[in-house]
Protein backbone atom coordinates (compact mmCIF):
# COMPACT_ATOMS: atom_id res chain seq x y z
CA UNK A 1 0.00 0.00 0.00
CA UNK A 2 1.28 3.45 -0.87
CA UNK A 3 2.21 5.40 2.26
CA UNK A 4 0.36 8.65 2.84
CA UNK A 5 2.17 11.95 3.23
CA UNK A 6 1.56 11.71 6.94
CA UNK A 7 3.12 8.22 7.05
CA UNK A 8 6.21 9.54 5.29
CA UNK A 9 6.43 12.51 7.66
CA UNK A 10 6.33 10.18 10.66
CA UNK A 11 8.96 7.96 9.03
CA UNK A 12 11.21 10.97 8.40
CA UNK A 13 10.79 12.18 11.94
CA UNK A 14 11.77 8.71 13.15
CA UNK A 15 15.06 8.92 11.27
CA UNK A 16 14.12 7.52 7.86
CA UNK A 17 15.72 10.30 5.79
CA UNK A 18 14.91 8.71 2.37
CA UNK A 19 11.22 9.19 3.24
CA UNK A 20 11.76 12.83 2.42
CA UNK A 21 12.97 11.80 -1.02
CA UNK A 22 9.59 10.19 -1.61
CA UNK A 23 7.79 13.32 -0.46
CA UNK A 24 9.87 15.41 -2.85
CA UNK A 25 9.17 13.06 -5.75
CA UNK A 26 5.48 13.16 -4.93
CA UNK A 27 5.18 16.93 -4.63
CA UNK A 28 7.95 18.41 -6.74
CA UNK A 29 5.94 18.85 -9.92
CA UNK A 30 2.90 20.27 -8.16
CA UNK A 31 4.97 22.74 -6.16
CA UNK A 32 6.86 23.83 -9.26
CA UNK A 33 3.54 24.18 -11.05
CA UNK A 34 2.07 26.49 -8.43
CA UNK A 35 5.20 28.61 -8.30
CA UNK A 36 5.41 28.75 -12.09
CA UNK A 37 1.85 29.99 -12.33
CA UNK A 38 2.61 32.72 -9.78
CA UNK A 39 6.00 33.91 -11.07
CA UNK A 40 5.63 32.93 -14.74
CA UNK A 41 9.20 31.73 -15.16
CA UNK A 42 10.32 28.14 -15.50
CA UNK A 43 13.87 28.53 -14.09
CA UNK A 44 12.69 30.66 -11.22
CA UNK A 45 9.99 28.10 -10.45
CA UNK A 46 12.61 25.35 -10.27
CA UNK A 47 14.88 27.49 -8.11
CA UNK A 48 12.10 28.49 -5.73
CA UNK A 49 10.85 24.93 -5.55
CA UNK A 50 14.30 23.81 -4.40
CA UNK A 51 14.34 26.61 -1.86
CA UNK A 52 10.92 25.54 -0.58
CA UNK A 53 11.96 21.91 -0.23
CA UNK A 54 15.13 22.94 1.57
CA UNK A 55 13.06 24.92 4.07
CA UNK A 56 10.67 21.99 4.41
CA UNK A 57 13.59 19.63 5.01
CA UNK A 58 14.93 21.84 7.76
CA UNK A 59 11.57 22.29 9.43
CA UNK A 60 10.03 18.85 8.94
CA UNK A 61 11.67 17.46 12.05
CA UNK A 62 9.57 19.77 14.21
CA UNK A 63 6.44 19.73 12.03
CA UNK A 64 3.39 18.86 14.11
CA UNK A 65 0.66 17.20 12.15
CA UNK A 66 -1.99 19.65 13.23
CA UNK A 67 -2.09 20.91 9.67
CA UNK A 68 -2.02 18.82 6.51
CA UNK A 69 1.44 18.27 5.10
CA UNK A 70 0.24 19.51 1.70
CA UNK A 71 -1.08 22.79 3.14
CA UNK A 72 2.14 23.24 5.07
CA UNK A 73 4.25 22.61 1.98
CA UNK A 74 2.15 24.92 -0.20
CA UNK A 75 2.48 27.56 2.52
CA UNK A 76 6.28 27.29 2.48
CA UNK A 77 6.36 27.48 -1.31
CA UNK A 78 4.04 30.48 -1.46
CA UNK A 79 5.97 32.33 1.25
CA UNK A 80 9.23 31.72 -0.61
CA UNK A 81 7.58 32.98 -3.79
CA UNK A 82 6.21 36.06 -2.05
CA UNK A 83 9.67 36.89 -0.70
CA UNK A 84 11.15 36.58 -4.16
CA UNK A 85 8.46 38.75 -5.74
CA UNK A 86 8.91 41.33 -2.98
CA UNK A 87 12.64 41.49 -3.62
CA UNK A 88 12.03 41.70 -7.35
CA UNK A 89 9.53 44.54 -6.84
CA UNK A 90 11.97 46.39 -4.61
CA UNK A 91 14.57 46.17 -7.35
CA UNK A 92 12.31 47.29 -10.16
CA UNK A 93 9.94 49.46 -8.08
CA UNK A 94 6.97 48.69 -10.29
CA UNK A 95 3.57 50.16 -9.58
CA UNK A 96 0.37 48.19 -10.05
CA UNK A 97 -0.25 50.11 -13.26
CA UNK A 98 3.20 49.11 -14.49
CA UNK A 99 2.41 45.47 -13.78
CA UNK A 100 -0.84 45.66 -15.67
CA UNK A 101 0.79 47.45 -18.56
CA UNK A 102 3.54 44.84 -18.62
CA UNK A 103 0.96 42.06 -18.73
CA UNK A 104 -0.81 43.77 -21.61
CA UNK A 105 2.50 44.21 -23.41
CA UNK A 106 3.31 40.55 -22.82
CA UNK A 107 0.00 39.70 -24.39
CA UNK A 108 0.73 41.90 -27.38
CA UNK A 109 4.27 40.58 -27.68
CA UNK A 110 3.13 36.99 -27.38
CA UNK A 111 3.07 36.76 -31.15
CA UNK A 112 -0.28 35.88 -32.62
CA UNK A 113 -3.28 37.96 -31.58
CA UNK A 114 -5.71 36.66 -29.02
CA UNK A 115 -8.14 35.73 -31.77
CA UNK A 116 -5.42 33.83 -33.61
CA UNK A 117 -4.65 31.92 -30.47
CA UNK A 118 -8.26 31.05 -29.92
CA UNK A 119 -8.61 29.89 -33.49
CA UNK A 120 -5.59 27.67 -33.00
CA UNK A 121 -7.16 26.37 -29.76
CA UNK A 122 -4.36 27.95 -27.73
CA UNK A 123 -5.85 30.04 -24.99
CA UNK A 124 -3.01 29.19 -22.69
CA UNK A 125 -0.96 32.34 -23.22
CA UNK A 126 -3.98 34.62 -23.11
CA UNK A 127 -5.05 33.16 -19.77
CA UNK A 128 -1.48 33.33 -18.46
CA UNK A 129 -1.24 37.03 -19.32
CA UNK A 130 -4.61 37.78 -17.72
CA UNK A 131 -3.54 35.90 -14.61
CA UNK A 132 -0.22 37.78 -14.46
CA UNK A 133 -2.13 41.05 -14.22
CA UNK A 134 -4.07 39.96 -11.13
CA UNK A 135 -3.02 41.30 -7.74
CA UNK A 136 -0.78 38.71 -6.07
CA UNK A 137 -3.24 37.79 -3.30
CA UNK A 138 -6.03 37.11 -5.77
CA UNK A 139 -3.71 35.22 -8.12
CA UNK A 140 -2.62 32.88 -5.31
CA UNK A 141 -6.18 32.01 -4.39
CA UNK A 142 -7.31 31.50 -7.98
CA UNK A 143 -4.33 29.24 -8.67
CA UNK A 144 -4.79 27.15 -5.53
CA UNK A 145 -8.50 26.76 -6.25
CA UNK A 146 -8.60 26.47 -9.99
CA UNK A 147 -5.43 24.55 -10.75
CA UNK A 148 -4.55 22.77 -7.53
CA UNK A 149 -8.12 21.90 -6.61
CA UNK A 150 -7.73 22.78 -2.94
CA UNK A 151 -10.92 23.17 -0.94
CA UNK A 152 -11.77 26.55 0.56
CA UNK A 153 -10.75 25.44 4.09
CA UNK A 154 -7.46 24.08 2.72
CA UNK A 155 -6.71 27.40 1.02
CA UNK A 156 -7.55 29.27 4.21
CA UNK A 157 -5.17 27.00 6.10
CA UNK A 158 -2.42 27.36 3.49
CA UNK A 159 -2.61 31.15 3.32
CA UNK A 160 -3.43 31.54 7.00
CA UNK A 161 -6.42 33.78 6.34
CA UNK A 162 -10.14 33.45 7.21
CA UNK A 163 -12.42 31.48 4.91
CA UNK A 164 -14.36 34.64 4.06
CA UNK A 165 -11.15 36.32 2.88
CA UNK A 166 -10.40 33.38 0.59
CA UNK A 167 -13.82 33.66 -1.02
CA UNK A 168 -13.62 37.42 -1.36
CA UNK A 169 -10.23 37.21 -3.07
CA UNK A 170 -11.41 34.43 -5.34
CA UNK A 171 -14.59 36.28 -6.31
CA UNK A 172 -12.68 39.47 -7.12
CA UNK A 173 -9.99 37.57 -8.97
CA UNK A 174 -12.50 35.71 -11.12
CA UNK A 175 -14.29 38.97 -11.81
CA UNK A 176 -11.10 40.63 -13.02
CA UNK A 177 -10.16 37.63 -15.13
CA UNK A 178 -13.57 37.65 -16.75
CA UNK A 179 -13.22 41.33 -17.65
CA UNK A 180 -9.70 40.88 -19.00
CA UNK A 181 -10.54 37.86 -21.10
CA UNK A 182 -13.62 39.55 -22.48
CA UNK A 183 -11.44 42.52 -23.38
CA UNK A 184 -9.35 40.07 -25.40
CA UNK A 185 -12.46 38.85 -27.16
CA UNK A 186 -12.80 35.67 -25.16
CA UNK A 187 -16.10 34.77 -23.61
CA UNK A 188 -16.89 31.27 -22.51
CA UNK A 189 -14.23 29.59 -24.61
CA UNK A 190 -15.40 31.21 -27.81
CA UNK A 191 -14.27 34.39 -29.48
CA UNK A 192 -16.67 37.25 -29.17
CA UNK A 193 -16.46 39.69 -32.08
CA UNK A 194 -14.57 42.76 -30.92
CA UNK A 195 -16.18 45.99 -32.05
CA UNK A 196 -13.76 48.03 -34.14
CA UNK A 197 -12.54 51.19 -32.44
Amino acid sequence: MTPTDEDLVVAFQSGDIPAFDQLVRRWDRKIQGVIYRIVGNHDEARDLSQEAFLKAYRALGTFKQEARFSSWLYQIAINATRDRLRRRRRRTDLSLDDVEERADNALRDAGPSALDLIESHDLSRVVAAAMAALPEEQREVVILKEYEGLTFPEIAETLDVPLSTVKTRLYRGLGQLRVRLERQGIHGGAAVPVPSA
Binding site: P18, D28, H42, L54, V142, F152, K167
Partner: protein, 219 residues
Protein backbone atom coordinates in the same frame (compact mmCIF):
# COMPACT_ATOMS: atom_id res chain seq x y z
CA UNK B 1 -31.58 37.24 0.57
CA UNK B 2 -29.60 39.87 -1.35
CA UNK B 3 -27.00 39.15 -4.02
CA UNK B 4 -23.96 39.88 -1.81
CA UNK B 5 -25.20 37.48 0.84
CA UNK B 6 -25.56 34.62 -1.65
CA UNK B 7 -22.10 35.16 -3.15
CA UNK B 8 -20.22 32.71 -0.89
CA UNK B 9 -22.82 30.03 -1.49
CA UNK B 10 -22.54 30.65 -5.21
CA UNK B 11 -18.79 30.02 -5.08
CA UNK B 12 -19.44 26.81 -3.14
CA UNK B 13 -21.85 25.67 -5.83
CA UNK B 14 -19.44 26.72 -8.58
CA UNK B 15 -16.73 24.46 -7.14
CA UNK B 16 -18.97 21.68 -5.88
CA UNK B 17 -18.53 22.48 -2.21
CA UNK B 18 -21.06 23.53 0.39
CA UNK B 19 -23.50 20.66 0.13
CA UNK B 20 -27.20 20.57 -0.56
CA UNK B 21 -28.16 23.43 1.75
CA UNK B 22 -25.98 25.92 -0.14
CA UNK B 23 -27.23 24.60 -3.47
CA UNK B 24 -30.85 25.10 -2.35
CA UNK B 25 -30.19 28.67 -1.20
CA UNK B 26 -28.55 29.53 -4.52
CA UNK B 27 -31.34 27.91 -6.47
CA UNK B 28 -34.00 29.81 -4.52
CA UNK B 29 -32.16 33.10 -4.98
CA UNK B 30 -31.56 32.57 -8.68
CA UNK B 31 -35.19 31.79 -9.32
CA UNK B 32 -35.87 35.43 -8.53
CA UNK B 33 -32.56 37.02 -9.66
CA UNK B 34 -31.61 37.01 -13.32
CA UNK B 35 -28.31 38.82 -12.64
CA UNK B 36 -27.02 36.10 -10.34
CA UNK B 37 -28.22 33.41 -12.72
CA UNK B 38 -26.22 35.06 -15.47
CA UNK B 39 -23.21 35.56 -13.22
CA UNK B 40 -23.01 31.90 -12.23
CA UNK B 41 -23.27 30.88 -15.88
CA UNK B 42 -20.49 33.35 -16.77
CA UNK B 43 -18.28 32.03 -14.00
CA UNK B 44 -18.80 28.47 -15.24
CA UNK B 45 -17.74 29.52 -18.75
CA UNK B 46 -14.77 31.38 -17.29
CA UNK B 47 -13.63 28.21 -15.56
CA UNK B 48 -13.72 26.51 -18.95
CA UNK B 49 -11.39 29.21 -20.33
CA UNK B 50 -9.04 29.05 -17.37
CA UNK B 51 -8.61 25.32 -17.89
CA UNK B 52 -6.70 26.10 -21.10
CA UNK B 53 -3.69 27.45 -19.20
CA UNK B 54 -1.18 24.62 -19.51
CA UNK B 55 2.11 24.23 -17.72
CA UNK B 56 5.20 24.20 -19.95
CA UNK B 57 6.44 20.79 -20.94
CA UNK B 58 9.28 19.51 -18.80
CA UNK B 59 8.23 21.42 -15.70
CA UNK B 60 9.10 19.34 -12.68
CA UNK B 61 11.41 17.12 -14.66
CA UNK B 62 15.06 17.02 -13.62
CA UNK B 63 17.49 19.18 -15.62
CA UNK B 64 18.68 17.44 -18.79
CA UNK B 65 22.27 17.28 -17.56
CA UNK B 66 21.33 15.62 -14.29
CA UNK B 67 21.11 11.97 -15.19
CA UNK B 68 21.72 9.06 -12.91
CA UNK B 69 25.37 8.07 -13.28
CA UNK B 70 26.27 4.54 -14.23
CA UNK B 71 27.08 2.54 -11.12
CA UNK B 72 30.84 2.08 -10.60
CA UNK B 73 32.61 -0.63 -8.62
CA UNK B 74 32.79 0.38 -4.97
CA UNK B 75 36.55 1.13 -5.06
CA UNK B 76 36.31 3.39 -8.08
CA UNK B 77 33.24 5.14 -6.78
CA UNK B 78 35.04 5.80 -3.52
CA UNK B 79 38.05 7.20 -5.38
CA UNK B 80 35.87 9.46 -7.49
CA UNK B 81 34.00 10.60 -4.37
CA UNK B 82 37.34 11.34 -2.70
CA UNK B 83 38.36 13.61 -5.57
CA UNK B 84 35.00 15.35 -5.58
CA UNK B 85 34.85 15.69 -1.83
CA UNK B 86 38.41 16.89 -1.39
CA UNK B 87 38.17 19.65 -3.99
CA UNK B 88 34.67 20.69 -2.96
CA UNK B 89 35.90 21.08 0.62
CA UNK B 90 37.94 24.12 -0.46
CA UNK B 91 35.00 26.48 -0.39
CA UNK B 92 32.13 24.42 0.90
CA UNK B 93 29.36 26.90 1.61
CA UNK B 94 25.93 28.00 0.30
CA UNK B 95 22.73 26.12 0.98
CA UNK B 96 20.91 24.17 -1.65
CA UNK B 97 18.58 21.28 -1.94
CA UNK B 98 18.77 19.30 -5.12
CA UNK B 99 16.33 16.76 -6.36
CA UNK B 100 17.04 15.15 -9.66
CA UNK B 101 17.11 11.73 -11.19
CA UNK B 102 19.96 10.85 -8.83
CA UNK B 103 17.80 11.52 -5.80
CA UNK B 104 17.60 14.12 -3.07
CA UNK B 105 20.59 15.99 -1.68
CA UNK B 106 21.14 18.89 0.71
CA UNK B 107 24.06 21.30 0.90
CA UNK B 108 24.52 23.75 3.77
CA UNK B 109 26.59 26.96 4.13
CA UNK B 110 26.69 30.72 3.34
CA UNK B 111 24.39 31.90 0.55
CA UNK B 112 26.77 34.59 -0.71
CA UNK B 113 29.10 31.99 -2.15
CA UNK B 114 26.45 29.84 -3.74
CA UNK B 115 27.25 30.90 -7.28
CA UNK B 116 30.99 30.30 -6.92
CA UNK B 117 30.26 26.97 -5.33
CA UNK B 118 27.88 26.03 -8.13
CA UNK B 119 30.62 26.79 -10.68
CA UNK B 120 33.09 24.79 -8.66
CA UNK B 121 30.70 21.90 -8.38
CA UNK B 122 29.94 22.00 -12.08
CA UNK B 123 33.66 21.85 -12.87
CA UNK B 124 34.12 18.99 -10.46
CA UNK B 125 31.21 17.11 -11.93
CA UNK B 126 32.76 17.48 -15.35
CA UNK B 127 36.11 16.33 -14.04
CA UNK B 128 34.59 13.35 -12.30
CA UNK B 129 32.64 12.45 -15.43
CA UNK B 130 35.85 12.58 -17.47
CA UNK B 131 37.66 10.49 -14.88
CA UNK B 132 34.86 7.96 -14.80
CA UNK B 133 35.05 7.66 -18.56
CA UNK B 134 38.79 7.15 -18.30
CA UNK B 135 38.37 4.53 -15.59
CA UNK B 136 35.69 2.76 -17.58
CA UNK B 137 38.15 2.43 -20.46
CA UNK B 138 40.62 0.55 -18.30
CA UNK B 139 40.44 -3.19 -18.40
CA UNK B 140 39.21 -4.57 -15.05
CA UNK B 141 42.22 -6.87 -14.70
CA UNK B 142 44.74 -4.04 -15.01
CA UNK B 143 44.83 -3.28 -11.28
CA UNK B 144 48.26 -1.61 -11.35
CA UNK B 145 47.23 0.91 -13.95
CA UNK B 146 43.96 1.51 -12.15
CA UNK B 147 45.74 2.26 -8.88
CA UNK B 148 48.19 4.58 -10.64
CA UNK B 149 45.27 6.43 -12.24
CA UNK B 150 43.51 6.82 -8.91
CA UNK B 151 46.73 7.99 -7.25
CA UNK B 152 47.23 10.47 -10.07
CA UNK B 153 43.68 11.74 -9.63
CA UNK B 154 44.24 12.31 -5.93
CA UNK B 155 47.58 14.01 -6.59
CA UNK B 156 45.99 16.37 -9.12
CA UNK B 157 43.23 17.17 -6.67
CA UNK B 158 45.70 17.95 -3.89
CA UNK B 159 47.76 20.15 -6.20
CA UNK B 160 44.67 22.13 -7.15
CA UNK B 161 43.80 22.55 -3.48
CA UNK B 162 47.30 23.79 -2.64
CA UNK B 163 47.22 26.32 -5.46
CA UNK B 164 43.87 27.62 -4.36
CA UNK B 165 45.02 27.90 -0.74
CA UNK B 166 48.15 29.81 -1.77
CA UNK B 167 46.07 32.20 -3.85
CA UNK B 168 43.79 32.85 -0.87
CA UNK B 169 46.79 33.47 1.38
CA UNK B 170 48.25 35.95 -1.11
CA UNK B 171 45.00 37.90 -1.15
CA UNK B 172 44.82 37.90 2.66
CA UNK B 173 48.42 39.08 2.99
CA UNK B 174 47.81 41.90 0.53
CA UNK B 175 44.70 43.01 2.40
CA UNK B 176 46.54 42.97 5.75
CA UNK B 177 49.40 45.04 4.33
CA UNK B 178 47.02 47.64 2.88
CA UNK B 179 45.22 47.91 6.21
CA UNK B 180 48.54 48.28 8.06
CA UNK B 181 49.66 51.12 5.80
CA UNK B 182 46.36 52.87 6.18
CA UNK B 183 46.55 52.60 9.98
CA UNK B 184 50.10 53.96 9.99
CA UNK B 185 49.08 56.94 7.86
CA UNK B 186 46.23 57.74 10.24
CA UNK B 187 48.49 57.51 13.28
CA UNK B 188 51.03 59.79 11.62
CA UNK B 189 48.37 62.37 10.80
CA UNK B 190 47.15 62.25 14.41
CA UNK B 191 50.64 62.79 15.81
CA UNK B 192 51.21 65.77 13.48
CA UNK B 193 48.01 67.30 14.69
CA UNK B 194 49.02 66.86 18.32
CA UNK B 195 52.47 68.29 17.57
CA UNK B 196 50.90 71.36 15.99
CA UNK B 197 48.60 71.90 18.96
CA UNK B 198 51.48 71.55 21.45
CA UNK B 199 53.71 73.96 19.48
CA UNK B 200 51.02 76.62 19.38
CA UNK B 201 50.45 76.28 23.11
CA UNK B 202 54.17 76.65 23.83
CA UNK B 203 54.38 79.80 21.68
CA UNK B 204 51.43 81.32 23.54
CA UNK B 205 52.99 80.49 26.91
CA UNK B 206 56.30 82.04 25.88
CA UNK B 207 54.52 85.18 24.69
CA UNK B 208 52.62 85.42 27.99
CA UNK B 209 55.76 84.97 30.06
CA UNK B 210 57.40 87.69 27.96
CA UNK B 211 54.53 90.05 28.71
CA UNK B 212 54.75 89.28 32.44
CA UNK B 213 58.50 89.88 32.50
CA UNK B 214 58.09 93.12 30.58
CA UNK B 215 55.40 94.31 33.01
CA UNK B 216 57.48 93.43 36.08
CA UNK B 217 60.52 95.26 34.70
CA UNK B 218 58.43 98.39 34.07
CA UNK B 219 57.36 98.31 37.71
Amino acid sequence: MDCDAIRDDMLDVLYGEGGEAAARRVETHQAACADCRRELADLRRLRGDLAHWRLPEGLGAPPAAAVRPRRLPVGLAAAAALVLGATAGLAFSGAEIRHDAAGFSVRVGRASETRALADLERRHREEVAALRAEIAAIRPTDDGRLLRTVADMIHQSETRQDEARLASLRVLRQRAETQRQYDLARMSAGLSYLDGKAGLQAARTTELVGHILQASQQK
